[in-house]
């Protein structure tokens, strides 16, 4: 049984009396210990997909019209409050993009970590355990940092605290939603290294979300590329990095930011991700696709397996 199995997940946001589909039929699974990277530009639905795993998208405005999210075999979308609370942290933990906003500014970091312990491992809710966790994520002199408030730490240290807090409950799956995007370039590399190290040492699964294909090579076992609420390509990481098949993936790779040149990337793929509610007909990528054919604006492409384990949502994938 896979640790996580998402089947045909659909998510709508209710706006007025319209339903705007943000996630449209996403399916993928993760084995225990596996690291999957979800890649795509901003607004493609990566965050809402990832948050759905612990039902963290507020409903309303969100609605799940279809789909299943099987976590350890049971469907998260059918769980009651109590069950949800036990899987949040208990099976899946999160770290987010902006650690300064994700930590509560009015509580000491040690307290915030201890909260996680109290919820899931009450017998271990001690200062010693907090210190051990801070050490685990590479915070120097942790004894002196547990009484710090978040604002007394640098962004990198705050993200390490977030990671410590996520690990405190000993989850099987760590969801890291753009964990380095808000940090300085040098710190970005350190946080990625830490995640890689933790993955090796603790053997947990990581779902890493990023819009930067440049950082996934070392850590990912598999890659899933999302565009406009759908997965457009999915394959083992080395396979996809060596030979991307979907035109969108290729465009993304052509626009991998060099270290410290984040801005250049923004102009790399012409056009914008369509907003929810304004999806192009046919292939959703066709207005921006450098290889678009005349029928791409009518024919809706399916996600098909073109090689073992390699899925692509473009009938013209072989023409490159």
């Amino acid at each position: 049984m896979p640790l996580l199995e998402i089947k045909n997940l659909k998510l709508d946001f209710k706006q007025g009396d319209k339903m705007l589909r943000a996630v449209d039929g996403v399916s993928f699974s993760m084995e225990a210990g596996e690291t999957v990277c979800l890649v795509g530009e901003s607004g493609c639905g990566k965050s809402v997909t990832a948050l759905s795993i612990a039902r963290l998208v507020p409903t309303p405005p969100a609605i799940y019209p279809e789909g299943e999210i099987l976590l350890n075999g049971s469907d998260v979308l059918k769980m009651g409050k109590k069950e949800l609370r036990s899987i949040r942290g208990g099976i899946v933990s999160y770290i987010f993009q902006d650690p300064s906003a994700s930590l509560n500014p009015v509580f000491r970091v040690g307290n915030q970590i201890k909260e996680s312990l109290k919820l899931h491992r009450p017998q271990a809710a001690t200062d010693d355990e907090v210190i051990r966790l801070l050490k685990l994520v590479g915070i120097p002199a942790p004894e002196s940092r547990i009484r710090d408030y978040p604002h007394q730490m640098s962004g990198g240290m705050q993200q390490r605290v977030m990671i410590a807090m996520a690990l405190a409950s000993e989850p099987k799956l760590l969801v890291a939603d753009e964990p380095t995007t808000a940090l300085d370039v040098t710190i970005q590399a350190q946080i990625m290294e830490l995640l890689l190290d933790l993955k090796k040492r603790l053997g947990m699964s990581i779902l890493l979300i990023t819009h930067n294909l440049g950082i996934v090579g070392d850590i990912a076992d598999r890659l899933a590329v999302m565009y406009a609420g759908q997965i457009v390509e999915m394959a083992p990481a080395n396979q996809m990095l060596k030979r991307p098949l979907h035109p969108y993936t290729r465009s993304l790779m052509g626009s991998v930011p060099k270290l410290g040149h984040e801005l250049e990337r923004l102009n790399a793929i012409p056009g914008n991700v369509p907003s929810i509610g304004f999806m192009p007909t046919g292939c959703r990528f066709h207005p921006r696709c450098p290889m678009a054919k005349s029928d791409c604006s009518q024919k809706v492409p399916e996600l098909v397996q073109v090689e073992p384990g390699h899925w692509v949502r473009c009938p013209y994938w072989s023409e490159s």
């Binding site: 963290l56 987010f96 994700s102 009015v106 509580f107 909260e115 919820l119």
Partner: protein
């Protein structure tokens, strides 16, 4: 900390100096004085008036008169009320107690009701409870304080449940201690309710919008993602942050109320500082005007100071300097 307090007190000195100078000047420049009224009183001899005028240096240049006043003020003597025939400081201190009682209970009451109301409205956004509370708040915001005070007086007069104005009965001095206490409380109830009602709506709406904003904050998602029960997420993580900006408002309202609840005090004949100020201005009791204004300024600043201390205590990101 002590350094900070000392600094704030030092800042108060030039402010009070400026305010007293300005008020004194304004009272000096406006036509007419209390003595003009005295002069029309046949029972007071012109010599007596001359003597009074000389004592207050009223016929000397402005800066001389002000300097004398300032010199006394520094020694703690804020001048003399001609209308009440007593020291301004003494007069103010009795009035201050009344204002303090009224403001204190009104503030406590308003906050004790408005904060839970705002929380309920935010947590159950768009529910029937939220809509009901919002309409109550809207009504509260649209009724002027004066009207509310008048309505309260009308209620008191027609039902006889409450005394109509004042802070104690005429027979107060003849009462037993227990009776005295009840008499004061009885007089205090209606003005307190009016004053509390007038600030309730604003606080409630502010609390509601603050909490709604905070509930959208990322650290709230973090708290949920830990597996924390929704009640804890709201009452520990969100509320603790949502309350911070309100502490500033609390300080300001405290400051405003301490310096005199002008409308309620005047309409409901509550002998507080606000009413005293208005009386002093209309009767041209100029030293009393200056004294009350200086006092109100000092209280305003102290209220703000308390707000800053509260905020610093509640929000670790804020440092006093």
């Amino acid at each position: 900390m002590w350094q900070y307090i000392a600094k704030r007190i030092l800042h108060l000195i030039p402010l009070l100096f400026g305010v007293s100078l300005l008020t004194y000047m304004l009272m000096w420049m406006t036509p007419g004085s209390f003595y003009d009224n005295l002069k029309q009183n046949p029972q007071i001899s012109p010599e007596k008036i001359k003597e009074l005028e000389a004592k207050r240096h009223i016929n000397e240049p402005f800066y001389v008169a002000y300097s004398y006043w300032l010199l006394n003020a520094v020694k703690g003597d804020l001048g003399y009320s001609l209308a009440y025939k007593m020291d301004a400081s003494k007069l103010i201190s009795t009035r201050l107690l009344n204002t303090f009682l009224l403001s204190f209970f009104a503030t406590v009451l308003a906050w004790a009701i408005a904060i839970p109301m705002g929380i309920v409205a935010a947590v159950h956004k768009d529910s029937i409870a939220d809509r009901a509370l919002s309409s109550v708040a809207f009504m509260g915001l649209s009724i002027p304080e004066v009207l509310l005070a008048l309505l309260a007086l009308m209620l008191a007069a027609s039902t006889g449940w409450f005394p109509v104005g004042g802070s104690q009965s005429p027979m107060y001095d003849l009462m037993e201690p227990g009776e005295k206490f009840w008499n004061r409380v009885h007089h205090l109830i209606l003005p307190t309710l009016v004053l509390a009602a007038s600030s309730l709506a604003g606080i409630m709406r502010y609390m509601r919008s603050n909490l709604l904003d905070t509930l959208r904050a990322e650290f709230v998602t973090t708290a949920r993602a830990k597996g924390m029960a929704e009640g804890w997420v709201i009452y520990k993580h969100a509320l603790r942050n949502a309350i911070n900006p309100l502490l500033t408002i609390f300080g300001y309202s405290l400051a405003g109320l301490l310096s005199g609840a002008f409308i309620v005090e005047n309409v409901m004949a509550w002998p507080g500082l606000g009413r005293l100020t208005i009386e002093a201005i209309t009767s041209k009791d100029y030293e009393l005007v200056v004294a009350t204004v200086v006092m109100a300024t000092a209280l305003l600043v102290i209220g703000n100071f308390i707000a800053d201390l509260l905020l610093a205590w509640s929000d670790p990101r804020i440092r006093l300097k």
